[in-house]
């Protein structure tokens, strides 16, 4: 049986392999508890378990002394994020047109189309905003502030647009 000192020593000697195993166990447990708590409408348990598991994963990650990611991972991550964004935007625009054209059959298609359109706009603006912040290296730059204001404007427009429908 594991006692407290054993658990602490295991955490102190955390390797990437062990971290991945622990993370997998936490994710499985979280999925089971979260889905069950939603089914039984116990939302406090769902939020609680989400916060606890996030903190646990964060603590475990901090205890890993090995290098988990280097410059090559960040480069690949950037490329993957860019590609994912492009795919999401193109697929979203196509789906939006399909839903919009079928709106006469079912009025709820119009809501889906509007939500998709605004989510794509906000997503692209959010990307532009983060890109501007990263590329300028500061928040107080005129282009960063312009992008932020446009993002805020579209966010308000999106919420109002969806509420109006």
């Amino acid at each position: 049986m594991l006692n407290n000192s054993n658990i602490i020593s295991k955490i102190k000697k955390m390797t990437i392999k062990k971290y991945n195993t622990f993370r997998m166990i936490i994710v499985i447990a979280l999925a089971i508890i979260f889905s069950q708590s939603i089914i039984y409408q116990n939302y406090f348990l769902a939020i609680g378990i989400l916060i606890i598991s996030s903190l646990l994963v964060f603590t475990l990650r901090k205890s890993v002394k090995e290098i988990m990611a280097d410059e090559r991972d960040y480069e690949q991550g950037g490329k993957a994020a860019m590609l994912a964004m492009q795919i999401y935007c193109y697929a979203g625009v196509i789906a939006m047109f399909i839903f919009k054209s079928q709106a006469s059959l079912n009025p709820s298609y119009d809501i889906i189309a509007t939500t998709l359109a605004f989510s794509i706009c906000i997503f692209m603006l959010l990307y532009s905003f983060i890109y501007q912040v990263k590329s300028k290296g500061k928040f107080w730059d005129k282009w960063v502030i312009y992008t932020f204001l446009v993002l805020l404007f579209f966010l308000v427009l999106g919420i109002l647009g969806i509420l109006k429908i």
Binding site: I67, A69, D70, E71, R72, D73
Partner: protein
């Protein structure tokens, strides 16, 4: 871009894992570097060159 990382690493009897740890990179990155499939940043190139006790110019073969 070709390089002499593998040649110099074996000469100094350093494993990929050891090199990776000393330059604060993952072993996979060293594998990709040796195969010439990844162009490192100036910072990483400098760290690798320092570990292998050569100049960056002697480590990487620039082809125009």
């Amino acid at each position: 871009m070709k390089n002499r990382i593998k040649e110099l690493r074996t000469k100094l009897n350093i494993t990929q894992d050891e090199l990776a740890k000393s330059v604060e990179a993952r072993r996979e990155t060293i594998v990709f570097l040796e195969q010439g499939k990844y162009n490192p940043s100036l910072n990483l190139a400098h760290k690798v060159a320092k570990k292998l006790k050569v100049k960056i110019d002697d480590l990487f073969i620039f082809e125009e």
